[in-house]
């Protein structure tokens, strides 16, 4: 323990978060190609530059704010949230909006009620729905880009098209898994390991591995992670019981933003309520809302909206659920 040693530990936390993101980013680049890297650079530069411009009246404060690394994390989260084929200008727009409106409009770090990365992502999601729905096909592991809908897209639209007698239009994707990936056997096979038809579970597990390390280093609250995953699993289970055409629990856990979000978005302490009980409920609500939006809402992946909705509910949860003990027990 080296207390009072100058640099605020906030920076240390942010560095751990960035390192924990690395394995997931690596797998995502492997699956979808190097476009993600340019998006990453664009988003991070956009976020940091915005922070600097907004605080440039006080240069020391600006450098201090950039030094805490939170803008870097915001930029990185936006870059991995959007499809890699999206033009870098859109990514920069998202991260500028995230830092300017999502964070500094409310008074800077610590005062923003909504997760800045999700604010930026939601902006481009509703502004460029066409761009945001298209992920490269990973069938070949290489991108010479054939764009394809994600498993979540198909899961969302298949029943609808079926009901309208448009089954011929439904893409058949037998490879999408409702099971754990066999990355392990792939790694040991002679051929270059491929992520198969459906790279999402592998990406999710890579983010999960980094996230577990981050939790181990105490840079994230394990309650928030576990609550989110439990919320997704339980709600997906309940939906699976009542709706026969619903997707399975493992499908919901391993596709879309659930794992990366549970570890890296929900754990944002600024926008989470204080107190253990409130945090449990908050995270569980995010998980359940995600499944509800996926199954019944208009978007294939509702994670960002679930987070933003629960951000808005966080103060209420905090007030209702976490009253500190009036007197300590002996």
């Amino acid at each position: 323990v080296a207390p009072d040693n100058g640099a605020p530990a906030v920076r240390r936390i942010m560095v751990i978060v960035l390192l924990a993101l690395a394995p997931g980013i690596a797998v995502q680049v492997y699956a979808f190609g190097p476009d993600l890297l340019s998006n990453l650079v664009g988003a991070v530069l956009g976020a940091v530059a915005t922070e600097f411009v907004l605080l440039c009246s006080d240069r020391r404060a600006a450098l201090r704010a950039i030094g805490d690394g939170s803008a870097l994390v915001t930029g990185a989260l936006i870059a991995i949230a959007v499809p890699p084929a999206v033009p870098v200008t859109v990514v920069v727009l998202a991260s500028v909006f995230a830092v300017a409106v999502g964070k500094h409009a409310y008074g800077g770090i610590g005062r923003n009620p909504f997760n800045p990365a999700m604010v930026g992502y939601a902006l481009v999601l509703v502004s460029f729905p066409g761009l945001m729905a298209v992920w490269p096909s990973a069938a070949d592991g290489i991108v010479d880009v054939i764009s394809a809908a994600t498993p979540l897209d198909v899961a969302r639209h298949q029943p609808l098209m079926k009901s309208q007698g448009l089954e011929s239009l439904v893409m058949t994707n037998p490879g999408w898994s409702n099971s754990w990936p066999d990355l392990w056997s792939d790694l040991w096979s002679d051929k270059r390991p491929s992520l198969g038809q459906d790279p999402w579970p592998t990406i999710a597990l890579a983010y999960g591995a980094g996230g577990l390390w981050m939790v181990y280093r105490r840079a994230a609250d394990v309650v928030l992670v576990a609550g989110t995953l439990a919320g997704v699993a339980l709600s997906a289970g309940v939906v699976g019981v009542f709706a026969t055409d619903g997707e399975g629990m493992v499908f919901h856990l391993l596709h879309g933003a659930v794992v990366v979000g549970a570890f890296f978005v929900v754990t944002d302490p600024v926008t989470a309520p204080a107190g253990r009980m409130a945090r449990c409920v908050y995270a569980f609500l995010i998980g359940s809302l995600t499944v509800v939006i996926r199954e019944f809402g208009g978007y294939p992946d509702g994670f960002a909206f679930a987070v933003l909705l629960c951000n808005a509910a966080a103060p209420v949860l905090e007030r209702a659920l976490s009253t500190p003990s009036s007197t300590p027990s002996p």
């Binding site: 201090r64 600024v270 500190p324």
Partner: protein, 450 residues
């Protein structure tokens, strides 16, 4: 002027001797040697009047870099026992608890036994009643505390001894416990023996001290002299703090003297780093020994909501600085809480003083009105002209009441008087002496503006 109470203290009835002994403690200037510096005589006075069941001697010294309390226990055991005798003389049969670091329990037991064996002075007939002597020999319970900071906090120790947590604004004395630092008790022992406690033990530690040590120092020694003696290389940028690593206060000038409350000097410790905004990470919550929610407390103070802060238990904060160390944003939470608490107490006492002043003012007003009414009834102006603006707001009513009373037994006589003065539809108004009228109008004006 040294009240002569020593020889007979505790023998001829405590009621008579107690105040004299407390006066001696006051004149000797004994204050909280644990670092608080609170005048000990006031604690003793409170304990003597209200009675206590437990004397808790605090020698836990959970601060990581202090050692003076242990040294007091080792080197001044006899004085400690004499100090216990003084408190027992004041407060009667009480349970005496000595709280030490668990690692020091066996040695402490040994020292106390030694002191017992060697002290022929403590036999009956010296200056203590028999009962007290016996209770001293057999009644000290030494308990070891895991020196897990802040185990030596008086609220923690009281909770340990009585098994119940103190309420929000309760002091240990409210639960019949008097908590004194072991060095304070030793100082009291010297007072009982007729000496002035003029020295104390000071721990000297820190990155800039090559040879950490505990020094016996005359109270009043300039800190600079102490540092020179210990061979500290002086330079202007050297940060010197009083206290231990956790609870410390910067020394503004090296000319400052060692006081009774100087437990130690921390030389060369880094300054508090620049704070950045709270990110609401809640890392402070699990470390709070009082189970407060420092983050929410901080947020409520930041938005100026003292009521919310009070509800969150602001007054229970012991300023132990555990949350400071946990905070990744380097926010000086504990000192902010301490400052807010002080401000709150001051505001409360100011409000009380204002309420008292208001009551006094209103009583005075009522008294003046009664006086004025009496003057009117005697036929004089309600207010003496030279007194300036008077208070005649209620005079009319009082005058009328008094006249009605006076009229009641002989109605004809009263009406006759009114007729004689000229009659009219409103006899009482007309009956008032004319000179009051200008005064009344000025006073009305004054009341409005006031």
């Amino acid at each position: 002027v040294w009240p002569e109470a020593s020889a007979s203290f505790g023998q001829e009835g405590r009621a008579g001797d107690g105040p004299a002994m407390i006066e001696r403690v006051r004149l000797a200037g004994v204050c909280g040697h644990g670092g608080g510096g609170f005048p000990t005589w006031r604690k003793l006075e409170h304990a003597r009047i209200n009675g206590i069941q437990h004397l808790i001697i605090n020698a836990v010294e959970c601060e990581p870099d202090l050692g003076s309390d242990q040294c007091v226990l080792a080197a001044q055991t006899r004085a400690v026992r004499r100090g216990i005798a003084l408190v027992q003389g004041l407060c009667g049969a009480i349970h005496v608890h000595l709280a030490v670091n668990e690692a020091w329990r066996a040695p402490a037991n040994g020292w106390l036994s030694d002191a017992e064996g060697e002290s022929g002075q403590m036999k009956p007939g010296h200056d203590l009643p028999d009962a007290l002597d016996v209770s001293i020999a057999h009644d000290i319970s030494i308990f070891g505390v895991l020196a897990h900071y802040p185990a030596g906090d008086e609220r923690m120790l009281t909770r340990f001894v009585i098994g119940q947590a103190l309420g929000d604004s309760e002091r240990p004395t409210d639960r019949g416990c008097l908590v004194l630092n072991v060095a304070t008790v030793a100082a009291l022992g010297e007072v009982l023996d007729g000496r002035l406690p003029v020295r104390r033990l000071v721990s000297l530690r820190g990155p800039a001290v090559a040879n950490p040590q505990v020094l016996g120092v005359l109270i009043g020694t300039p800190i600079e002299v102490l540092l020179e003696y210990a061979g500290v290389v002086m330079n202007p940028a050297l940060a010197v703090h009083q206290g231990g690593f956790m609870m410390r206060a910067p020394v503004s000038s090296l000319d400052e003297p060692v006081t009774g409350a100087t437990t130690g000097l921390l030389v060369g410790a880094p300054e508090q780093a620049t704070a950045i905004p709270c990110i609401r990470c809640d890392l402070c919550e699990p470390v709070c020994p009082e189970r407060l929610a420092p983050q929410r407390l901080w947020a409520s103070l930041e938005r100026g909501d003292t009521e919310a802060a009070t509800n969150l238990g602001l007054s229970r904060c012991t300023a132990c600085r555990c949350c400071d160390l946990a905070c990744p944003s380097n926010i000086p939470l504990a000192s902010e809480f301490r400052a807010a608490r002080t401000a709150l107490v001051e505001a409360r006492s100011a409000a009380q003083a204002a309420a008292l002043a208001k009551v006094r003012f209103e009583q005075r007003e009522a008294r003046l009105v009664r006086k004025a009414a009496a003057r009117v009834l005697r036929g004089k102006p309600a207010v003496r002209p030279e007194r300036g603006a008077g208070r005649t707001a209620g005079v009319d009513a009082l005058v009328e009441k008094a006249r009605a009373k006076r009229r009641a037994p002989s109605r004809s006589g009263a009406s006759g008087t009114v007729d004689a003065r000229g009659g009219g539809p409103r006899p009482v108004d007309a009956g008032e002496p004319t000179p009051t009228k200008p005064h009344m109008s000025t006073s009305d004006h004054g009341d409005e503006s006031g």
